[in-house]
């Protein structure tokens, strides 16, 4: 569906995009040219065929009232058989080469996108939907793969065939040619209007399909609410409305597109009849032989066929351009700064983290953190609190250098992190995020992840520490159980696996981004014990709602509307009676709080 959607969209810059695509295909250019030459030669053979068939017919008619020159017929037959045979071989090789080139190009484009994903700043992904990137990798490249193969080959054969058959027709007989051309164009004028008309219905159909998709998705995923609120009738009414519209546009577009074939046939038949009548008249006057009519009967088909194909190739080429544009747009996005010249690297980190006059805004014109300074000594625990939407994850983004600062610096053990390669910064942290991320692979692979040389015993030990060893062993394949949609893990279990992953990574600094909020409080207690062990000797940054994690922190950063508005430890902040105190105390104002 998305394919057609991109296809109906007009490409903004057809020439530029096609240029890029051709440039991208450069390594395959010799192959493509050979393929195209092959197809030209193959097509010429096909066009040459009818003229030989004409000769054959003439030999037959000449011999109708006497002896047919069977030797000549045999010679022509063998020549034709050879030509047809060669033509098959040529077009097969052409098809084979083009198929290979297109698939290789598609593959390399996909590869480029996959590498590009890792080179783009997070900012790009935070402002684009995953679905959009995903559809570039699959739908758009698929469209390129399918259309490039068809359209380029088709375009070359069709043009050759058109030019060739025109040439041969004129060569054979001028009047017959004019008849054929006139009748063909008459039919095509009719057809073009049809196609134009159907285009609008196709656009409507796509739009209605989109609306249908949206509505169904919404109702199905909000199923429980729809039921309890007795909104089935309301949902059905809206559904019917969209369904009616979809029905209208879909039968119309189907009807119009269904008419293309019969119309093509008619144009063929029409020209065929015209050629026969005019040919018959001419033959009777003795101005042409019957062989000419036979040849023209085939020429007419050869002539009408490529016209339809050229029109089709042009539309598919549009689709190729539209899809390529989206792909190249992605590939041309600005990448992360190249860091190969940065030679500095942290080893043996003690864990001192310092914020020095940090200024930052997601939009550089709108700074949200203006001038923030704080220092965390090795092994300290820093809690980040604030209401929902206060921008607590910003701190993670900055510490990990997912985003670059607009001013000031963050230093680990005194070294500003922007002087280090990103990989080196990442190596210093283990991280557990709020949205647990597990990939399709075994539990063991998920826990070990990118760490080298981890033994099974270590994995087991870590799982015991977070209390999921028993659970994992009850699974049919234990640690080798593949996590996919069929395996139902609870949110808590997923969370524990990512915590185990962080434990295995064993980096000197730790980030917990609301790590425990989807785990129930009892499980959290288990995790907390494991975490406390993990946090010993590590500088940790913890974002959480839970008071237990906040209260024993060495420093609390209080955030509101993106900015850090207070910092200090629990007692200091309570004593200050600011925003934190208000936030904290609201928990215990029990007088009228009960329900």
């Amino acid at each position: 569906m998305a394919n057609q959607q991109t296809a109906t969209k007009q490409s903004i810059n057809f020439k530029g995009t096609m240029g890029k695509l051709v440039a991208y295909c450069r390594p395959y250019l010799p192959l493509i040219i050979v393929a195209l030459l092959l197809s030209v030669v193959g097509t010429i053979f096909t066009i040459y065929g009818p003229s030989q068939l004409e000769k054959m017919t003439d030999h037959i008619t000449a011999g109708l009232f006497g002896e047919i020159d069977m030797d000549a017929i045999g010679r022509i037959g063998i020549l034709l058989a050879v030509l047809y045979g060669l033509s098959v071989v040529f077009s097969f090789f052409q098809g084979y080469m083009m198929a290979t080139v297109t698939q290789k190009v598609s593959k390399s484009l996909r590869e480029r996108i996959s590498q590009k994903i890792n080179k783009l700043p997070l900012k790009y992904f935070d402002s684009t939907s995953n679905g959009d990137v995903l559809s570039r990798v699959t739908n758009d490249i698929d469209t390129i793969g399918q259309t490039m193969n068809q359209s380029v080959g088709m375009l070359v054969t069709s043009v050759t065939m058109l030019v060739g058959s025109l040439f041969m027709m004129f060569y054979t007989n001028v009047w017959m040619t004019i008849t054929a051309i006139l009748s063909t164009f008459l039919g095509f004028a009719f057809m073009t209007t049809m196609i134009k008309k159907s285009q609008t219905h196709f656009v409507h159909q796509q739009a209605n399909l989109g609306a249908m998709n949206g509505h169904v998705e919404e109702i199905y995923s909000g199923y429980d609410v729809v039921k309890v609120y007795n909104a089935e009738r309301m949902a059905k009414e809206k559904f019917n409305e969209i369904n009616d519209k979809l029905y209208e546009s879909s039968w119309k577009s189907q009807f119009l597109s269904g008419m293309t074939m019969p119309l093509m046939m008619f144009v063929g038949n029409f020209s065929y009849v015209a050629v026969c009548i005019v040919g018959g008249a001419l033959a009777m006057n003795g101005r042409i032989t019957f062989g000419v009519i036979v040849a023209f009967m085939i020429y007419v088909r050869l002539f009408t066929q490529p016209l339809g194909q050229i029109a089709q190739a042009a539309t598919t080429l549009q689709a190729t351009a539209a899809a390529s544009e989206r792909v190249f747009e992605f590939l041309d996005e600005k990448e992360l700064e190249d860091e190969s010249r940065k030679t500095k690297a942290l080893k043996e980190v003690k864990g001192q983290v310092e914020f020095r006059n940090v200024a930052f805004g997601y939009d550089p014109d709108k700074l949200i953190i203006h001038d923030f300074s704080a220092k965390a000594r090795p092994g300290q625990k820093i809690a980040i609190v604030g209401p929902t939407g206060a921008g607590k994850t910003t701190i993670v983004n900055l510490l990990m250098r997912f985003y670059e600062l607009n001013g000031g610096e963050i230093a680990i053990d005194g070294v500003p992190i922007h002087e280090l390669p990103r990989e080196n910064v990442h190596e210093q942290f283990c991280m557990v995020l709020q949205d647990t991320w597990l990939f399709e692979g075994t539990i063991k692979e998920n826990i070990v992840f990118n760490k080298q040389g981890v033994t099974d015993a270590e994995v087991k030990e870590v799982c015991k520490a977070v209390g999921i060893d028993h659970f994992i062993r009850t699974l049919t394949h234990g640690y080798d159980t593949v996590l996919n949609e069929q395996v139902n893990l609870s949110a808590g279990q997923k969370q524990l696996i990512t915590i185990a992953r962080a434990l295995i990574a064993n980096a000197p600094l730790l980030i917990l981004d609301e790590a425990t909020s989807s785990v129930d409080t009892r499980t959290e207690l288990l995790i907390q014990e494991a975490m406390d062990r993990l946090m010993a000797g590590r500088t940790s940054f913890v974002i959480a709602h839970r008071l237990s994690t906040i209260k024993n922190a060495d420093m609390i950063l209080v955030m509101k509307d993106g900015d850090i508005i207070e910092s200090g430890n629990h007692r200091e902040l309570l004593a200050a009676g600011g925003f934190y105190a208000e936030l904290y105390n609201s928990q215990f104002e029990t007088a009228e709080a009960a329900m």
Partner: protein, 587 residues
């Protein structure tokens, strides 16, 4: 695949019957055309004929062509209508079916799969019906008719046509045997590539943090290689198909003429002209036959995908919803807002383990009953039994003294205000979301909406929206924050003025302060309503009239906050993890 045909309406069945008649007419006309051609041939070849004699068969030929066009016009119209209305009907039936499903069926199919089935799969079926139906009726009629017409002319010609058709069928067979499994595999490999990419995108932060970009790229490379391999195989095979098909076509016409030359040469003088025009007709018939089979082969390429789609659609339509409407109206005058669980146990249909065991409690009108326990203790499942998302396996769930299974679902749902853990918002406006659905009473006013939003502490942010209460909400509420969505979801329940509120961990998306303010507001505004709350925070539930502590599906403690602190070990552990000693004592 064939079973789906029974969903054609009677009108459409007639459409198809009529269109079959027109297809027959069309075939007749298409086959008549070469007859006139033969006539012209004879006229041209015979000495002493005038030009005017050619006009007549020429005009008939033209009429045939126009008639054939008109016939196909009608056929295409009827078929397009039938296919689209079949699709419309299937979509509607499917939608109804899904709306009748219980949570068990929803989970079995998964929402994503049900969406694909309702849209893409049905479109597939529609396409094959529109394109395939016509061809599948026409091709055999054309082939048989044409063969019958020509078989009497000469066995050599018939043989060569037969050989061509056999070769064509062989090609199709080869494709079915070799390419079809690959086509199916490609579908799976594309899904795989999609999955790996999606995985990489959703886990971007984690992947970067662990410097795992290379391993992710390697995974992608593997999926990419496999997909490209399968694609290469099929597209190379297809590259062979087209030239061979055209070879068969041109080879056939060559063979007919070559054989024709021999036949004519060997024949007696008088029958020669007849043979010659036969040859011209024959070559045109032969083309028609080959074309018919080529069209048929195209349908065969489309068939596997469409039949998988049809199967997926049928699977949903043939599923019986697990929950049946009880149909009874609640007796008038019965108490309002009372909920009782009597020895309720629950397990999933395909499981041996009980999720809930022997749960009994009563929530009287106006009381607040809270449930707390670890993940997987069965809190949410317990709540799901009240609106009948699932039915209790054993025991009874009673609302106002009547078993929920006996209720007409509408009446049962009208008593409830349900707020799920994850807020659900629909495309529309703030108002359309708050005044959502139907509660069996007259629709409320704009003031009711405002009031409900205010109670749910949403007034401040809603009034800041560009159009206030008419501010638009995008699909899934993506233009609001988690807390804002949850507040509107609560406002929706409040607007309904239900007898019973069900809060399934609805407050955890809110910060402590909003949570507390909201609950105290609710307390004031909903006097008389019964509240059932699942919570994770002690603060959220500690004021409840009755707290039930669940552990592995059983009630391990019941009472008020301060009682449970003394009597229930599990509750004490939870409380300890959240509050300090002093705070526990204050509470």
């Amino acid at each position: 695949m064939l079973k789906i045909l029974k969903y054609f309406s009677t009108k459409n069945v007639w459409f198809i019957i009529v269109s079959t008649a027109f297809i027959v007419l069309q075939v007749w006309l298409d086959l008549k055309l070469p007859d006139y051609l033969a006539e012209i041939t004879q006229l041209v070849q015979t000495e002493g004929n005038s030009l005017s004699q050619v006009w007549e068969p020429g005009a008939y030929m033209m009429l045939c062509a126009i008639g054939s066009l008109l016939a196909s016009f009608i056929v295409v119209y009827l078929v397009a209508q039938s296919a689209a209305s079949l699709a419309k009907r299937l979509r509607s039936l499917l939608f109804d079916k899904v709306e009748s499903f219980s949570m068990a069926e929803m989970n079995r199919f998964s929402t994503a799969s049900l969406i694909t089935r309702s849209t893409n799969d049905i479109t597939q079926v529609q396409t094959i019906m529109a394109m395939g139906l016509q061809v599948m009726i026409k091709a055999p009629i054309l082939a048989v008719w044409a063969i019958v017409k020509i078989s009497s002319k000469s066995w050599q010609w018939t043989l060569s046509s037969g050989v061509s058709v056999a070769l064509l069928l062989l090609m199709i067979a080869i494709v079915i045997v070799f390419a079809m499994p690959k086509f199916r595999a490609i579908q799976g490999l594309t899904d795989q590539l999609n999955r790996v990419t999606r995985e990489g995108l959703t886990g971007l932060r984690v992947i970067r943090a662990y410097n795992a970009a290379k391993s992710q790229e390697a995974k992608f490379e593997r999926a990419n290689r496999e997909l490209t391999g399968a694609n290469l195989f099929t597209s190379r095979l297809m590259a062979l198909m087209m030239p061979v098909m055209s070879l068969i076509m041109s080879g056939l016409s060559l063979a007919i003429y070559w054989i024709g030359a021999h036949l004519i040469n060997g024949a007696e003088m008088p029958s020669r002209l007849g043979l010659f025009s036969d040859m011209v007709i024959f070559s045109s018939y032969a083309m028609q036959i080959v074309m018919a089979f080529m069209m048929l082969s195209m349908v065969f390429f489309m068939l596997p995908r469409a039949s998988v789609s049809a199967k997926r659609v049928m699977e949903v339509l043939n599923t019986e919803p697990g929950i049946k409407d009880g149909g009874l109206k609640p007796s008038a005058g019965a108490g309002t807002g009372e909920i009782e669980f009597r020895n309720v146990s629950f397990k999933y249909a395909d499981s041996d383990e009980y999720v809930l065991e022997d749960i009994s409690f009563v929530a009287h009108r106006g009381e607040t009953v809270a449930f707390i326990g670890s993940t997987g203790s069965g809190k949410s499942t317990l709540l799901n039994l009240i609106p009948r998302f699932y039915d209790a396996t054993e025991g009874e769930v009673l609302v106002d003294g009547m078993n929920v299974k006996d209720y007409a679902l509408r009446d049962l749902h009208n008593k409830l205000g349900y707020v799920p853990q994850k807020a659900v918002l629909f495309t529309g406006t703030v108002t359309s979301n708050v005044a959502y659905g139907d509660n069996g009473r007259a629709a409320g006013s704009a003031d009711d909406v405002k009031k409900a939003v205010a109670i749910a502490k949403g007034k401040e942010f809603v009034e800041k929206l560009e159009d206030g209460y008419e501010g638009s909400i995008s699909q899934g509420g993506t233009n609001l924050s988690g807390g804002q969505k949850q507040r509107l979801s609560i406002a929706r329940a409040v607007y309904r003025k239900p007898d019973i509120y069900i809060f399934d961990d609805s407050f955890s998306a809110l910060d402590y302060k909003t949570d507390r303010q909201l609950r105290s507001m609710l307390k004031q505004e909903t006097t008389g309503a019964t509240n059932l709350i699942v919570g994770q925070r002690i603060g959220t539930i500690k004021e409840a009239d009755l707290i039930l502590v669940l552990d592995e599906g059983r009630i391990v403690g019941r009472g008020k906050h301060h009682e449970l602190l003394q009597t229930c070990e599990v509750y004490r552990q939870i409380a300890n993890s959240q509050l300090s000693k002093e705070e526990l004592e204050i509470g």
